[in-house]
C-alpha cells in the first residue's frame, strides 16, 4: 500500500513537471506559431495576387452543394479566392482558385496533391496552370488527356468555387462542364466461327469511339483474343494507347468470359473503361447466347403495319420443349406505343410455355395489335418446333 502510494506520487510528480515544461514552451511559441500558420495560408494567396495588400477571410459563406470549398477570401476589394479540396485519383487535390469581382481573370495554384507521379501531377505543370488562368466563371475549364481523373477533380472543384463565388457576389451562371456520357457501347457485328464466336463492339473512349474485336471460345467459354480495330483516343504511348498494347490486350486472353475484368490502366482511365465496357457487353451477349440444347426459331410477327412485319426470335429448349427466351430481332411498329408489348418484362412472361399451353400473356393497352402479333409468333414458333422444322 505504502509502496503503491510512493510510485503514484513519483509518477505524478514527473507528469506535473513535464506538464509545466510544456505549458511554458507553449507560452513561448504560441504567438509565433499562430503568426506562421496565418502566414503560410496567405503566402500562397500572395503568389496568386502579388500586388494585393490584404486578404480577408470570409467566415460565413454559403457552402457549395458538395462541400468542396474549404475557405473563401476577399482579396483587397478586387477579387475573391477559394481554397478547394476535391478527390483526385488517389487522394484529394487541394488548390486555390481566384476570380476578379466580375468573375473574370481566373488564377490557379495547387497546394497539395498525391496522385501518380508523372501522370496526375501534371496538374502542377506550368502549361496547365497557364491554361487554367485568365478564364472567367462562365468558361469551361480544361482537362488533361492522360490525367483525366486528377484534372477532373480540379475542374469539379472549380465548379464548386464558382457556386460559392456566385452566392457571395449574387451573380449567376457557371462553367459549362461537359458531362461525359455513360459508356455507350454498341454491337457492330457478330460472326460464328468454328467453336468460337466473334463480336465487333464499338465503345466510347476519351475522344471518340473505339472498336474492339473480341473472340470467345464456345466450348471453353474463354476469351481467345481481343483486337483493337479502330482507336480514336489520344495518340502517343503515354495515354490511351497503353490500353491497346499487345501486352495489355493479351492480359484478357484465356479469361473466363463471365468473369473477365482487367485493372484500369493509370493515365488511360477513359480508354481502359471503354475496353471494359466492350468486354461487359460481350459478357452479356455471350450469356444470352443459345447453347446446343436450344433451337432458335425466327418468326415474322406482322403487327400494325403488315408490309413491314416485326421479326421475333423464339428460343426453345430442345429437351423440355419449352420457351426459354423471346427476343425482338427487328421492330417496325410505332415506337412508344407498340414497343410496350416487347419490353423485356413482358417477353419474359412467355418463358416456360409449351405447345400444349394456351398462350395467354396480358395484352398491353395501347399496343394491342403488337401484343397479339407477338402472341401469335410464339405459338407459330412452338408449332414449327413441334414439327421438327425451322
Amino acid at each position: 500500500m505504502k509502496n503503491t502510494l510512493k510510485l503514484t506520487i513519483f509518477l505524478g510528480l514527473i507528469a506535473a513537471l513535464c506538464t509545466g515544461i510544456l505549458a511554458g514552451v507553449d507560452m513561448l511559441t504560441k504567438d509565433r506559431i499562430a503568426e506562421q500558420s496565418a502566414g503560410a495560408e496567405t503566402a500562397a494567396l500572395k503568389e496568386l495576387y502579388p500586388d494585393a495588400t490584404s486578404f480577408t477571410v470570409i467566415e460565413d459563406f454559403e457552402a457549395d452543394s458538395e462541400g468542396l470549398v474549404l475557405a473563401a477570401y476577399q482579396v483587397d476589394d478586387t477579387a475573391y479566392a477559394f481554397r478547394v479540396s476535391s478527390q483526385g485519383f488517389a487522394s484529394p487535390v487541394v488548390f486555390l482558385i481566384g476570380f476578379d469581382n466580375d468573375g473574370s481573370n481566373s488564377k490557379y495554384t495547387v497546394l497539395e496533391q498525391n496522385d501518380t507521379a508523372g501522370i496526375g501531377d501534371r496538374i502542377l505543370a506550368d502549361e496547365y496552370v497557364s491554361d487554367m488562368s485568365g478564364l472567367s466563371t462562365t468558361d469551361s475549364f480544361p482537362l488533361i488527356s492522360g490525367a483525366t481523373k486528377t484534372s477532373e477533380a480540379v475542374v469539379k472543384g472549380v465548379s464548386a468555387a464558382v457556386e460559392v463565388f456566385n452566392s457571395i457576389t449574387g451573380s449567376t451562371g457557371g462553367p459549362a462542364v461537359e458531362e461525359p456520357e455513360e459508356d455507350p457501347v454498341a454491337l457492330l457485328s457478330e460472326s460464328e466461327g468454328e467453336a468460337s464466336v466473334t463480336y465487333e463492339v464499338e465503345s466510347k473512349g476519351f475522344a471518340g469511339n473505339n472498336v474492339f474485336e473480341i473472340t470467345v471460345d464456345t466450348t471453353e467459354h474463354t476469351i481467345v483474343s481481343v483486337v483493337s480495330k479502330v482507336y480514336s483516343d489520344t495518340p502517343g504511348p503515354d495515354y490511351g494507347e497503353k490500353v491497346i498494347t499487345e501486352e495489355n490486350l493479351a492480359s484478357y486472353e484465356g479469361l473466363v468470359i463471365s468473369e473477365a475484368n482487367v485493372d484500369v490502366v493509370s493515365g488511360a482511365t477513359f480508354t481502359s473503361n471503354s475496353l471494359q465496357a466492350a468486354v461487359d457487353l460481350v459478357k452479356e451477349l455471350y450469356s444470352e447466347r443459345p447453347d446446343e440444347n436450344t433451337a432458335v426459331i425466327e418468326v415474322e410477327a406482322p403487327g400494325y403495319n403488315p408490309d413491314t412485319p416485326n421479326i421475333i426470335a423464339v428460343h426453345i429448349n430442345k429437351e423440355t420443349n419449352t420457351v426459354s427466351a423471346v427476343k425482338v430481332v427487328e421492330f417496325n411498329d410505332t415506337k412508344g406505343l407498340g414497343d410496350q408489348a416487347t419490353t423485356e418484362e413482358r417477353l419474359n412472361e412467355y418463358v416456360g410455355l409449351t405447345i400444349d399451353d394456351e398462350v395467354n400473356v396480358d395484352v398491353v393497352s395501347g399496343a394491342t395489335v403488337t401484343s397479339k402479333a407477338v402472341d401469335k409468333a410464339v405459338v407459330e414458333a412452338l408449332a414449327i418446333h413441334a414439327e421438327g422444322g425451322q
Binding site: 510512493k6 510510485l7 509518477l11 514527473i14 510544456l22 514552451v25 511559441t29 506562421q36 500558420s37 507521379a117
Partner: protein, 224 residues
C-alpha cells in the same frame, strides 16, 4: 567490472558501426522509410532524433537511481513525449517548412523504438556522460543511414540534389545530376525506399562478413 567497462570512444563508435540502430538493430524503420525522399528531410529528421536521443538519455540517466523499477517505462515515455512535444513546438514556430515536411513523423519520434530502446538498454544503467555519448553515437548512426537512403532516392527520383536554408528558405546548393527523362519516379514512392534500404542492408552485411573473416584469418595466422 572495470574490464567490461567500454571506453568513451567505443561507446560512441558502437552506434555508428557495430550496433548501428537502423542497419543492425533495425530500430526506427518507420521514419527511415517514410521521410527519406530528399536529403533536406533526412537531415532535419536526423538532427531532431539526435537532439531527442541525447536529451532523453541524459535525463533518464540522471534519474536512474531514484526511478522505481516497476514504473520506469511510463516515466521514460513521459520524459520522451515531453521532449518531442517541446521540439515540435519550437520547430513549428521557427522552421515551419521542416515542420510540414516531417509531418506526423516528427510526433512519432515519441514511439520511435530507438529512443526508448536506448533509454532502457543503456541510459538506465550508465552514467550521464556515457549516456550522452551513446545518444550522440546512435543518433549520428541513424542520421548517416537515412542520409544515404535519401541521397540515393533523391538523385534517382528527381535527378537533382538540393538543400535550402530552413530559416530563410534560400537555396544553399542545387545540382542537376541526371537529365530530365532519365529519372526513376518509383524511388520517390515508398517502394523505392524499401529497395534502397534492402540494398543497403545487403551491403552492410557483406562488409561485416568480409571484415570478420579477415580478422579471423589474422587471429589464426598470429597463433600459428
Amino acid at each position: 567490472m572495470s574490464e567490461n567497462k567500454l571506453s568513451k570512444k567505443e561507446i560512441f563508435s558502437a552506434g555508428i558501426l557495430r550496433e548501428n540502430p537502423v542497419l543492425s538493430l533495425f530500430l526506427g524503420l518507420c521514419s527511415t522509410l517514410a521521410i527519406t525522399t530528399n536529403i533536406y528531410n533526412a537531415l532535419g529528421m536526423g538532427l531532431s532524433v539526435i537532439v531527442i536521443l541525447v536529451l532523453s538519455n541524459v535525463l533518464i540517466s540522471l534519474i536512474r537511481n531514484i526511478t522505481p523499477d516497476s514504473i520506469r517505462i511510463p516515466v521514460y515515455i513521459i520524459i520522451i513525449a515531453t521532449l518531442v512535444k517541446v521540439l515540435e513546438m519550437f520547430m513549428h514556430a521557427y522552421v515551419p517548412s521542416l515542420y510540414t515536411a516531417l509531418g506526423t513523423f516528427l510526433a512519432l519520434i515519441v514511439v520511435n523504438c530507438m529512443i526508448l530502446g536506448r533509454a532502457e538498454a543503456f541510459a538506465a544503467k550508465n552514467t550521464m556522460v556515457d549516456s550522452a555519448i551513446d545518444g550522440l553515437g546512435m543518433g549520428i548512426g541513424y542520421t548517416i543511414i537515412i542520409f544515404i537512403i535519401s541521397f540515393v532516392r533523391q538523385i534517382l527520383s528527381t535527378g537533382s540534389l538540393s538543400l535550402y536554408n530552413p530559416l530563410t528558405t534560400e537555396s544553399i546548393f542545387s545540382l542537376q545530376l541526371i537529365p530530365d527523362g532519365y529519372t526513376i519516379a518509383l524511388f520517390g514512392e515508398p517502394a523505392g525506399a524499401f529497395l534502397t534500404f534492402a540494398v543497403l542492408i545487403a551491403l552492410a552485411v557483406y562488409i561485416q562478413d568480409t571484415s570478420s573473416r579477415k580478422s579471423a584469418k589474422k587471429a589464426r595466422g598470429g597463433k600459428a
